[in-house]
């Protein structure tokens, strides 16, 4: 609110009551004192709980105040004092009638001043956008250096562990294998079983049009062992374990546990990253194969129920129609995917800095980048294996 020339238009006994008259709310009246100055008299409590509406009404006030009379104020805290002090400074008005406590608070508040900029300076949009893009580019450079450095540290750590096998964190790795592998068995089994059912059932519907329902066996066997078993497992492991790696290591970074390890001479790469990455790589092989087998069982159940192919005949036919190199394709891809998931999780976990928001952000990035890399690589693998004659 500014000092306004219309202030002079007020009649000498003009009175305005604050709009919201309620129990315990502060109110004000305007009049003129003996010296002809506009006087604002405030009544009621000036507390954090009551000062909000009053402040809004004072903002709208269109008068040139000379005196602020606080003799009607029955309670005041620093926030009320702040509002009055600000009002007085803006109108260059004098504060009168303040009680002992009010005076003390007004003095305390006055010392703080109010000239500083509260909001951080913000660039205009044509500067902000290029700046953000530039920062992104520099971040990307830092990211590439970070990834390479991270891989280097792991390789050095692995080399050291191979030279001194007694220091290998076996216990941590077994624990991680349990978390990544064993405890994932039910969910991955259920998922694969359902996928097997869907492929067999949908495949049979389509193949029926050509009178080739018997080929459902080929479809289920080959697609699960070559592609879907491993791919779906990779996505599940990325969501279950990749995210857990990032969140665990990220939280350990925030609580300075990682720094504490370093000062004791334990390399976080050796103790935290390598067990997780190795466990993830190894367990992906087993989980991928397990998922394929369960999916085939799911297909066989559909065969028995819907297609009239006996359960064990279905499994025997799988041996005949699926070439052994399909198994190899799955088994070769699985550890690579596991490695990527483990590395992405640990890398993003180690990059957490500052606050808890970063943990969430890095966890998301770990899962997204792992799944994306897995799918891209899967496409390369598909072309590659077909080219070398494992079609």
């Amino acid at each position: 609110m500014r000092a306004s020339p219309t202030g002079g238009l007020f009649a000498p006994r003009f009175i305005r009551i604050a709009g919201r008259v309620m129990d315990g709310a502060a109110q004000f009246t305007l009049d003129e004192d003996e010296a002809g100055r506009t006087r604002l008299s405030v009544e009621g409590p000036l507390l954090v709980s009551s000062v909000g509406p009053l402040d809004r009404d004072l903002e709208e006030l269109n008068a040139d105040l000379g005196v602020i009379d606080l003799s009607g104020v029955d309670a005041i805290d620093t926030i009320g004092a702040w509002v009055m002090c600000r009002l007085a400074a803006r109108h260059e008005a004098e504060i009168t009638g303040a009680g002992e406590r009010a005076k003390r608070l007004l003095d305390a508040v006055e010392g703080a001043g109010n000239d500083a900029e509260m909001d951080p300076p913000r660039d205009p949009v044509w500067l902000r956008v290029p700046k953000a893009i530039g920062e992104l580019v520099f971040d990307m450079r830092g990211g590439i250096i970070g990834v390479v450095g991270f891989l280097g540290r792991i390789l050095i750590g692995l080399g050291r562990l191979i030279r001194r096998p007694s220091t290998f964190p076996m216990k941590a790795m077994v624990r991680q294998m349990e978390l990544v592998g064993v405890s994932a068995l039910p969910i991955i089994g259920l998922m694969s079983f359902l996928i097997g059912i869907v492929i067999a059932q949908q495949g049979a519907v389509q193949l029926e049009q050509f009178g080739a329902e018997a080929l459902t066996v080929n479809l289920v066997g080959r697609i699960t062992l070559r592609e879907l078993g491993v791919l779906m497992t990779a996505i599940m492991v990325a969501g279950r374990s990749g995210s857990a790696f990032a969140a665990q290591i990220g939280t350990m970074k925030l609580t300075e546990e990682v720094d504490a390890m370093r000062t004791i001479g334990i390399s976080p790469a050796e103790r935290l990253v390598i067990p997780r990455v190795l466990a993830c790589t190894f367990m992906m092989v087993l989980l991928g194969f397990y998922a394929s087998v369960v999916a085939i069982v799911g297909g066989a159940v559909v065969g028995q129920v819907a297609l009239g192919i006996p359960f064990f005949t279905f499994l025997e036919r799988i041996q005949e129609v699926v070439p052994i190199h399909d198994v190899w394709v799955g088994l070769i891809k699985a550890p690579v995917f596991g490695l990527i998931i483990g590395l992405a999780g640990c890398y993003h976990g180690m990059r957490v800095e500052g606050n808890s928001e970063q943990v969430g952000l890095r966890t998301t990035m770990a899962v997204v980048s792992a799944i994306f890399a897995v799918i891209v690589l899967d496409a390369f693998f598909a072309v590659f294996f077909t080219e070398i004659g494992w079609g």
Partner: protein, 269 residues
């Protein structure tokens, strides 16, 4: 004018703890603990590590449901309520946790605004920012700290920012959990005088957990000693020493206790 703020609870002790028992499994931290905090005083709470000073504070502010006993703050019963329940007294106290417990995704200024926004949404955003800024300065932080994130602050600054947030609503009651722990002696002394100054200007009642003997001598009106699962004595330091309790003797009679006493004597001269 001076007593008007306190007229709301008219002379009754702001905190009354009666027969408090806290058990974790078979292990009792407090057993039939009773105490009172008087209006307008700084009450220091001392006790060995693990005697349940923080648990006592958590019980009083309703974060810990005690196994037994009754606690009331400003006449409101705290015991037996859900930690998330609306109490009607939460806007009348401020709590400073040991590590500051700042919201790490908000700047210091925004941290101070949180309680204001929560309890009094009708305060205009501009005024709210000004109040936050004032409280940050009041707690002894430099101007440029307002826009910093907690991760950019030192341990001592985090404590001050925690204090600023605790003071956001002009509380009548302030809980401080080890405010000077981890501060350098100069910073600790400055924090002590700040606490005293705030108590005098704002008319605060302060519940202060500390290990710092200098703090006890310099600013505490009374000291409560927790030992043997109870408050064994409450009073000024000379009164405590007269009780002859072995732990108190050791606490104030040890080399650090004597040094703090001597320093206090010197500063009084």
């Amino acid at each position: 004018m001076d007593d008007e703020l306190h007229a709301r609870y008219s002379g009754k002790p702001p905190i009354v703890v009666d027969g408090l028992t806290n058990r974790f499994g078979d292990f009792a931290v407090h057993d039939d603990l009773s105490m009172e905090v008087r209006e307008g005083e700084i009450l220091g709470v001392v006790g060995g590590s693990g005697t349940g000073k923080s648990v006592l504070m958590r019980s009083i502010i309703g974060l810990q449901t005690p196994s037994d006993g009754h606690i009331s703050v400003f006449g409101r019963t705290i015991t037996g309520i859900d930690p998330d329940q609306d109490l009607g007294v939460r806007c009348r106290w401020g709590v400073m946790f040991q590590g500051g417990a700042l919201f790490s995704t908000l700047t210091v200024g925004e941290n101070v605004e949180v309680p204001l926004k929560q309890f009094y949404p009708d305060i205009a955003p501009e005024l709210r920012r000004e109040i936050a800024r004032y409280k940050v300065l009041l707690s002894g932080l430099p101007e440029d700290a307002i826009n910093k994130f907690p991760s950019e602050l030192s341990g001592g600054m985090k404590k001050r920012a925690g204090l600023a947030r605790a003071l956001a609503l002009d509380p009548e009651l302030l809980f401080l959990d080890e405010p000077t722990a981890g501060l350098d002696p100069i910073g600790a002394a400055a924090f002590d005088s700040l606490t005293k100054e705030l108590k005098e200007t704002l008319g605060l009642t302060v519940f202060l957990i500390t290990h710092d003997l200098d703090t006890l001598y310099e600013i505490c009106d009374r000291v409560a000693v927790i030992a043997d699962k109870q408050v064994v004595a409450v009073g000024t330091i000379p009164e405590l020493i007269e009780t002859g309790h072995p732990w108190i003797q050791e606490y104030f009679g040890g080399p650090r206790g004597r040094a703090a006493h001597a320093a206090h004597e010197r500063s009084n001269e």
